[in-house]
């Protein structure tokens, strides 16, 4: 090593001998506690890994899995392996394959392919209005054919540097029709028969209850990856469908457990991530969740949930409060309000503009959103109205907000 006349060399290695891994309890670093105390704290903070079995696959998977979208930091993957997180979830299309490439590189370096379960997803052209696969390819997605499934699969195997996928999903099924699209189902079965996929499944974050049931009834899928969180309006129906799947031996993996970054950011509130995960694990039929993790702190925090998944009373209160927040600023664009306005004003866009201005203080984006509203369906129409009849099913105070917006400087530009 090149040294330039080193006169003082602090050698600190081994200070925390016995700690399971770096990255545990490191939130303490910001609290300026003595090093010895930090080490002791970390020793007591070693995570317990709790496992559940993924339905009929028999795979034993920790409650916390790793949703690998971000490829910025391979050290996070290495740390996940150190902690015992053995299930990685990615997708063929993420970052044009760079997510799969990073996973492949790290697994190859570690030489631990046999002890890691890799899940990836194949995506095909769809009609987003009709909620079906299209016959033709789009520029962004290939046509839903066996040939294209195997083409994607071979590419993913190459990127992942492996000759099999543990769980191969049909990516993002909007509807039962998509989940049971015969050409792709039979292609997935073929991939399984050929040993290129150990198990097959579908992923969904739309109409989850019906998609889950359809996938289960199709009789070929081993796993369903579904959005499931305490903020869903239909969470009870999703829970019932999950129980139905479990009864038929289909394993359940949960995603979007925090309600989605978009929602959290928009509300400007700090979601209690641990509580949100515990809420999901309170359903015994959910095998594991796949939160994305981009810091060691997040990894520690998520893993610590496995030590005790019981929601405390205060956590229950926090979740309850957070579940009410969407009524504060967030318009879900269901558009049910539009027919309640005699002038068919573009209320969802106006509500979004209001949210940008009032929730984020982003008047530029608010102004731009206002600018996208057709003149005959915008604020000027509201100005000539004496009694607002528009109603929101989530009780957003439409009339008050429109009145407020009409007087705001950013809405006048």
């Amino acid at each position: 090593m090149k040294n330039k006349g080193v006169s003082r060399r602090r050698f600190i290695g081994g200070a925390a001998t016995g700690v399971v891994s770096a990255g545990l309890g490191l939130t303490g670093c910001s609290r300026e506690i003595p090093q010895e105390a930090q080490a002791a704290e970390r020793e007591t903070a070693a995570p317990e890994i709790s496992y559940r079995v993924l339905g009929r696959t028999g795979l034993k998977i920790p409650l916390i899995s790793f949703g690998v979208m971000n490829s910025d930091n391979p050290d996070l993957l290495r740390r996940a392996f150190d902690l015992g997180l053995n299930h990685l979830d990615t997708a063929h299309l993420y970052l044009r394959g760079n997510s799969e490439r990073v996973i492949g590189e790290v697994i190859e370096q570690r030489g631990n392919r046999d002890s890691v379960y890799v899940a990836t997803k194949m995506r095909f052209a769809r009609d987003r209005e009709r909620l079906v696969f299209t016959d033709e390819a789009t520029a962004r997605e290939p046509a839903p054919t066996e040939e294209n499934l195997f083409q994607q699969l071979e590419t993913s195997l190459e990127r992942l540097r492996t000759d099999y996928i543990d769980i191969l999903y049909l990516h993002s099924c909007y509807s039962p029709a998509m989940a049971t699209y015969e050409p792709l189902m039979s292609a997935l079965v073929k991939a399984k028969e050929q040993g290129k996929a150990r198990f097959i499944g579908v992923s969904t974050h739309s109409d989850e209850p019906n998609v889950i049931r359809a996938a289960v009834d199709a009789g070929v899928y081993d796993v369903v990856l579904t959005a499931y969180n305490y903020l869903q309006d239909h969470k009870d129906a999703v829970g019932d469908a999950i129980a139905y799947a479990a009864g038929k031996g289909v394993g359940i993996v949960a995603m979007k457990t925090q309600g989605g970054k978009r929602l959290n950011q928009q509300e400007g509130v700090e979601i209690n991530h641990q509580a949100a995960l515990k809420w999901v694990f309170a359903n015994p039929h959910v095998c594991t969740a796949i939160p994305g993790m981009t810091t060691f702190e997040q990894m520690d925090s998520n893993c610590s949930v496995m030590a005790g998944i019981e929601l405390s009373e205060s956590e229950k209160r926090e979740l309850k409060l957070a579940s009410l927040l969407p009524g504060t600023y967030f318009c879900q664009s269901c558009r049910e309000c539009v027919p309640t306005c005699p002038e068919r004003v573009e209320i969802p866009l106006l509500m979004r503009a209001y949210m940008y201005a009032e929730a984020y203080g982003n008047t530029i984006q608010a102004e731009e959103t206002i600018g996208t509203v057709p003149e005959d369906r915008g604020l000027r129409v509201c100005a000539g109205c004496t009694s607002c009849q528009a109603r929101c099913r989530r009780d957003l105070p439409i009339a008050d907000r429109v009145r407020e917006m009409a007087g705001a400087r950013w809405s006048q530009a």
Partner: protein
């Protein structure tokens, strides 16, 4: 979800943007950071506006709250990288049979547009000179320019399609008001041994640490060894020092790494020798260093070369 395609940027709004962007930069601006820039909007070309191309589908746009409808699980990643809005439409070439989907992702800052561009670039792509930088894959061309990350995807592959993609990309680039914009922090990296098209910008959680934001990274071959050099911008020398100390504390907590502070190095070098080898130093309001190497000596030498270059 289909929404009107207009991006109204009025003079008054532009003035506001300058003020807001300046305010949003926060703290003391890093000396070599690009100054506050005007977030320039870009209208997707209407039907007939692009010579030789016709609009096939009505333009759509998505914002942070519904981006997942468009790109599903990738939405969170884009949002982390400063996503503001994407406009997309499909165009058909009048002469050839090819169609192209044009996507214009508007990010908050030029470095974020570069960041998402670089995150999607793969080692198999061919670098091109369009906008401030471009890649060409089998059926996709991406480039960044100002705050925009532009992506063109065709149905088919082949040389003819490549030419179509390039021609359309050049046409789109010429319509984006912001011209090429250099990321000045990138100039701090030594040219020698630099691996082409390896540059990255990581806006948050660099090295898995929530306090390390605005990180620039470049692959380099130093003494025959592969090294990733990095520079992290902070708001002030005090902040940089604080980050340096937190990193040191973090690595000290590992049972798998030996941590050494070479205090007489100028600047002092924090050396982490474990499963991952890392060298970090602080210089003024920045952190610099080396990661991703097998050989610690090469990493230290490369970090020293980086520090020298940063000193100018």
């Amino acid at each position: 979800m289909t929404i009107s395609t207009r991006w109204p940027i009025r003079p008054a709004a532009l003035a506001v943007m300058i003020i807001v962007l300046a305010a949003c930069s926060g703290g003391e601006p890093a000396q070599d950071e690009p100054g506050p820039t005007i977030a320039v909007g870009f209208d997707l070309p209407a039907d007939g506006e692009l010579p030789g191309w016709s609009l096939v589908t009505a333009p759509e746009h998505y914002e942070a709250d519904n981006l997942w409808e468009y790109i599903n699980g990738q939405a969170d990643f884009f949002i982390d990288y400063g996503f503001v809005r994407v406009e997309t439409a499909e165009y058909r070439n009048d002469q050839e049979s090819g169609s192209v989907v044009l996507e214009v992702y508007r990010m908050g800052r030029p470095q974020e547009a570069f960041g998402i561009f670089a995150a999607e670039r793969t080692r198999d792509d061919r670098p091109l000179e369009i906008g401030a930088g471009a890649y060409l894959g089998a059926n996709v061309l991406g480039f960044w320019q100002g705050e925009q990350y532009v992506k063109l995807t065709s149905f088919d592959e082949g040389p003819a399609i490549e030419q179509l993609l390039i021609a359309l990309a050049e046409e789109v680039s010429s319509r984006i008001p912001t011209q090429d914009q250099q990321l000045e922090t990138m100039l701090l990296f030594p040219e020698q041994g630099r691996v082409e098209a390896s540059e990255r910008f990581i806006p948050k959680n660099f090295l898995g640490q929530p306090y390390l934001t605005d990180a620039y990274r470049v692959d380099s071959i130093y003494d025959g060894q592969q090294v990733q050099l990095f520079v992290v911008e902070t708001g002030s020398p005090t902040e940089a020092q604080s980050h340096f100390t937190r990193l040191e504390d973090f690595y000290r907590g590992s049972d798998q790494a030996q941590v050494t502070l070479e205090a007489t190095e100028d600047p002092p070098m924090l050396i982490v020798d474990g499963p991952s080898k890392i060298v970090v130093f602080q210089l003024d309001h920045r952190l610099g260093g080396a990661i991703g190497m097998q050989n610690l000596e090469a990493g230290l030498a490369a970090a020293q070369a980086l520090a020298e270059k940063m000193r100018g």
